[in-house]
Structure formats: structure tokens, C-alpha cells
């Protein structure tokens, strides 16, 4: 942002202060993530930068914590990763199906009690997780689903659907309903219309809602803490126990992998958002 040449000195100074503040905030946001990378390659067992690392001595770096993550004895990470992926994938599928259907209904102008129903459907996102955790635990314990994968998947569907509802409703807000009427007038049945016309158009919204649901489930720890037994341990649970008990560099190796995963998800979400805006003809 270049300043015009006629700018007075005090505004010039203020402008540089403003740039400095913004730089600091961006640094504050992103820098903490980059501390994890170098430390996960630490050859030593401590979570501080050793003298060797500060001098960029190659011997101070190693892959031992990554090896420990994959091959370590009594290694919890393999099981945790497997569970996390299974739970997140099923929770995402469930959230997408229930959330998309509900969003389709909510975007219809005939929908009665729209406000209150929308508020109810979004509430799991707003209610503090600890309260959701307690409530869902009471329910799952009563129906005998505590400490099962099914129970955790259902819990994560509860937490994931609001995101799908929000993103799909947003996509549908720019949706031209005359195309579905055109399809119907040409003799297409509702299911066919949905599969051939509506779904391809709202797909970016569905997928980006699904990504939110996936991340929510993959990252969720509070509700799982109440629900999980020993066999249902997930990556967040393992990290939580690790961070509470012994902060080992293996956690940082896992964290690095998670940052790479979230970068990939961020890129796909951004690409989808742009595609969706293009499809809906929003130019910015």
C-alpha cells in the first residue's frame, strides 16, 4: 500500500505504525506453528532448541521421533490414527447426508418455523463442548453406546452437521430454482433432478461442509474424552494425554504431520470456495 506523495508526516508515521501492528499480528498468528517443525527433528529428548540446533549442526537433527511415532514399542499412534480416520470418515458421511437434506429443506421458501429450526440445528456449534459432552455421554451411556465407535461417530455427526447445514444453505442462497423447475417440466423425477441438476451445482458447498465436519471430528477431544474407552483412543486423545503427562518430541512429530494435513485441507477448501463462487457467478 503505497502512500500518495502529498501525505502529511503524522499520517505517514501512523501508516507505518499500522503496518507494524499488522505485521506483528500476522506473525503472532502463524509463527507458533513453525516452532513445531524444527523441534520435531530434534536429536535430543528435550523440547528446547539445543546449542547444536542453534548452530545448525547436522548431528543435532534426526528422524528418531518420526521413527518412534511409526515403529515405537507399545505405540499408541497407529491405533489412534486408524480410529481417528475411521470415525472421521463415517462422521463426515453422516453429517453430509443429514446436513445436506436439512439444508435443502431449509432453503425452500415453504419451510415453516425456519428461524427456530435453524437455531436448533446450529446449536451444537454454539453450545460449549463440555456441555455437549456431558449430554451426549448421558445419552450414549443410557443406550449402551458409550466406549464404542458407533457412539463416537454419532456424537461427531451431531457436532459436524451444523457446518454442512451452514455451507450448503449458503451455496443454495445463490441457487436459481428455475433450473429444477425446468427439469421437472421436462419430465424428470425429483430424485433424478437432485442427482443430475442440484447436486452438481451445490457440490462445492457440500464438500467444503464435509471438510469442516471431517476436521471437527478429526480434531475433537472433549466429547471423545467422555465417550472413549481404551480401544477407541484417537489422535487428539493421545495428544491430550501426552501433553498432560510427558511432553515427548514424538508428539511434535505427530503435530507436524497434522499441520501438513491441515495445509492440504486448507488448500482444497480454498479451491472449492473459489470454484463455488465461480459457479454461482460471484466475481470479486
Amino acid at each position: 500500500m503505497a502512500l500518495p506523495s502529498y501525505t502529511e508526516t503524522r499520517y505517514r508515521i501512523w501508516h507505518y505504525i499500522y503496518i507494524a501492528i499488522c505485521t506483528f499480528v500476522f506473525f503472532f498468528l502463524i509463527a507458533p506453528l513453525f516452532v513445531i517443525f524444527p523441534l520435531s527433528f530434534n536429536a535430543e529428548e528435550f523440547l528446547v532448541f539445543s546449542e547444536g540446533m542453534k548452530n545448525l549442526d547436522p548431528d543435532a537433527f534426526s528422524l528418531r521421533w518420526y521413527k518412534d511415532m511409526i515403529y515405537g514399542t507399545k505405540n499408541p499412534w497407529g491405533l489412534a490414527a486408524k480410529n481417528s480416520f475411521i470415525i472421521a470418515i463415517f462422521a463426515t458421511i453422516g453429517s453430509i447426508i443429514l446436513g445436506t437434506l436439512a439444508a435443502l429443506g431449509l432453503s425452500s421458501r415453504h419451510m415453516p418455523y425456519k428461524g427456530i429450526i435453524m437455531a436448533t440445528l446450529i446449536s451444537p456449534m454454539i453450545v460449549p463442548l463440555i456441555i455437549s459432552g456431558v449430554a451426549i455421554f448421558f445419552f450414549m451411556a443410557k443406550v449402551g453406546l458409550a466406549a464404542t465407535h458407533t457412539g463416537i461417530v454419532l456424537a461427531h455427526i451431531i457436532l459436524g452437521t451444523p457446518f454442512v447445514v451452514i455451507t450448503v444453505t449458503a451455496t443454495l442462497s445463490g441457487f436459481d430454482h428455475s433450473v429444477t423447475r425446468a427439469a421437472a417440466s421436462l419430465g424428470s423425477n425429483p430424485v433424478n433432478t437432485f442427482m443430475k441438476i442440484t447436486l452438481p451445482l451445490i457440490l462445492p458447498g457440500v464438500i467444503s461442509g464435509g471438510l469442516f465436519a471431517f476436521v471437527t471430528s478429526f480434531d475433537e477431544v472433549v466429547v471423545v474424552l467422555f465417550l472413549a474407552g481404551l480401544e477407541n483412543t484417537t489422535i487428539p486423545i493421545q495428544m491430550w494425554t501426552g501433553l498432560r503427562e510427558q511432553l515427548s518430541p514424538t508428539i511434535l512429530a505427530v503435530a507436524t504431520c497434522l499441520i501438513i494435513l491441515s495445509t492440504l485441507i486448507l488448500i482444497s477448501a480454498e479451491l472449492l470456495r473459489r470454484r463455488s463462487e465461480r459457479l454461482r457467478g460471484i466475481n470479486r
Binding site: V25, L101, S123, L129, D219, L247, L258
Partner: protein, 420 residues
Amino acid sequence: MSSETKKILTTDGIPLEVSLKKAEKKNKIKAFLLVAPLLLFLIITYVFPIGEMFSRSIDDKMITNMLPKTFKEMEKWDGKELPPEEVFTAFYYDFKVLVEKQEHGKLGQRLNKEKNGFNSITKKLFRQVKRKKIDESVSIKEQIMKVHKRWRTVEYWQAIKRTAPPYTMAKYLKGMDMYYAADGSITQVEEDRRIHRILWLRTLEIAFFVTLFCFLMGYPIAHLLATLPMKYSNLLMICVLLPFWTSLLVRTASWMILLQQQGVVNDFFVMIGLVADDNRPEMMYNKVGTYVAMTQILLPFMVLPLYSVMKTISPSLMRAGKSLGGTPFVAFWKVYFPLTIPGIGAGCLLVFILAIGYYITPALVGGASGTLISNQIAFHMKQTLDWSFASAMGLMLLSGVLVIYWIYNKLVGVDNIKLG
């Protein structure tokens, strides 16, 4: 002309109005059927269980079921002096049943919560009943009164009478550091034992300041992102979105590494000579850690709504303000800032709602002085197993959040929440 007043008919002879209404109703049902699966699912697995938390939090039926005869007799007792013979007799027979079922211990514990000293005297009474020392043919009142002097004290019988209703607000009072005194009035606990009130205030304080910090840091960068040309702002947006998509535990872990005593932040302070090497300040396991980590974690939730509002403000407005003679400061304050207020409201309410129920980060970096009400709820769920108290605290927190949610819904509308 009569043809104008005649009703318009459809081809099957039904009036058009009726036919349209029918179609409208059909559409309504169709729309509702699409929402129904999710709505039903949420009501069964989520809304009802929250309601169950409420009934659990006020439930006091256990003791009502333990002493049915006693409470029936006690209805006739005015509660001023020692109860009559009938109450003692009824209590004795109730107690005998409990001894057979080996539930007298539970009764002692429950009554002990009402008034200290019940545990030992129920044990004493238990031994007498067990050894069949109580003669049922003569006055039972006299014999029970001989077991311990507390059985002769009217306050203890009043305490039993207080437990008669199947519902109690005691857990809610406990959450506000109050309790039912001997005469049934609501009393505050002693000054030095008011732990919950401290927690509530601290939760509000931390949520308020985290929201304030997020606003102060988020406003400038949202403004920068909204005014920069697209190709730069897209790049900078990654700085906001990457933390947003990164696991909460990863971000908390990085703050634990940064803030520890031998950590990078302390290293930096020593390097620039701010603190001595042997006197590194404790920045984790206290409020500082909670503030810093929570502000960074919640900042994207402030920036994104602000950004989406600022994006819609035309830059020509500021130029117009300046060309009409306003200094840049005046133009900003009188033109730009008022237009961003919807974004400020949305961002602040969202961050406040999220901050007030935060659990993970305070538990990991907060230590004893940085924990919030959520941590207390988890503690009672997992450690003390006082689930009814945890439910009561949870619902008190929830009612606060719902009020803010309601305001948010009025001001912003839940369907206007923007993600990413």
C-alpha cells in the same frame, strides 16, 4: 357483471384458491420432511439429553424413596420441636428395610451432605438395629434418642424433613456458593470457601479480555486484508486460515513449547535483556498462558466476520469523506468505523461464546489460576463423579451462552454465519 365474482376454477373443477392452498401445504410438508431426519436425530441424541441433565441436576428422589413412611408421618409434624413418637417409629421401620438392603450407608452419606454428623449417628443406629437391640414393643422414640445425643437434637430431624421433596435446588445453590441453612433459608458459604464464584468471575473476565484482545488485534488485520489488492490479501489470508484449520491441540502444544521457562519467548526476552537469565518469568500454568494461547486460537473467528463486512464497504466512501474536508482520522471514525459495527458485533459475540466455554487450552496451559468453569464441570464429571452437580453447573453456563446466542441470532442471524 357476475362473471367477475365467480370463483376461478382449475381444470378439475376445484376452486383455484383451494387448489393453490393444497399445493402450498404439500410443499410445506415436503420441505419439512427433508429437515425431519436431522431434526429428529438431534432432538433424540442432543436436545433431550440436555433436558435430562436438568432433571438430573434437581433430582433428589433417592432419599424420598428410602424413607417413604418417615416423610409421610413428617407431614403432620410442625418441625419446631422434637417429632412425635409416630415419626420415630416410621423412621425406625424405614431404616430397618434399608439395613436389610444394606443401603443404610447411602442414607448416612446423603444426610451428611445436608448436615454434618449424620454419618456417624446412622452407623451407631445401624449397629443397634443389626444386633436387634431395639425393642419394638416399647417406645421406639426413647430408644433411638438414647443411641446418640444428636438423635435428641431437633436440628437433625429438621434436616431430614428438608430432604423430603423429590426435587432440590441445592446443586444450583452450591454452584453459586450458597446452601440451605438449618432453618431452610438460603445462606452464603463463608468468605474463604467461595470457590465457585471466583471461577464464574474468572471465566467472565478471561472471556471478556480475550474478546477485547481479539478485537484489538483482529480489526487492523481485517482492515488490511479487505483493502489490499486481491493477490496480496489472498496470500495473507493464509496466515489467518492455516491456524483456523490446524488442530487445536497442535496450536496449544506450540504455545506450551513457546511459553515454557526454557522456551523461545523467554530466550528472546533474555536475549534483548528484558529479564535476567536466572530469573525467567513463569508464563505458562497461569492466566498469562491462558490469555495468550486463547487469543491466538480464537483470533480467526474475529477476523473472518470483520473481513466479510469490511469487504462490502466501498473505498470511495473514505475518499468522499476526505474530499469533504475530513482528516483521515475523522473520515475513518465517522464513516468507516460505524459501517463495520455489524462485523464487530458478530465477531465479538462469536469469540465471547467460544471463549466462555473453553476447556482444552485452559486445562493444558492454565494451571490452577487459569482454569475456567468448564474445567470444574469436567472435574466433577470425571473425578468426584458428582454428575448432578456437573449438570447443574453446565446448565448455568448454558443459560448464559443461550442468552448471548439469542442476541447473536437477533443481531446477525445464525444463517449469516460465514465460514472461511
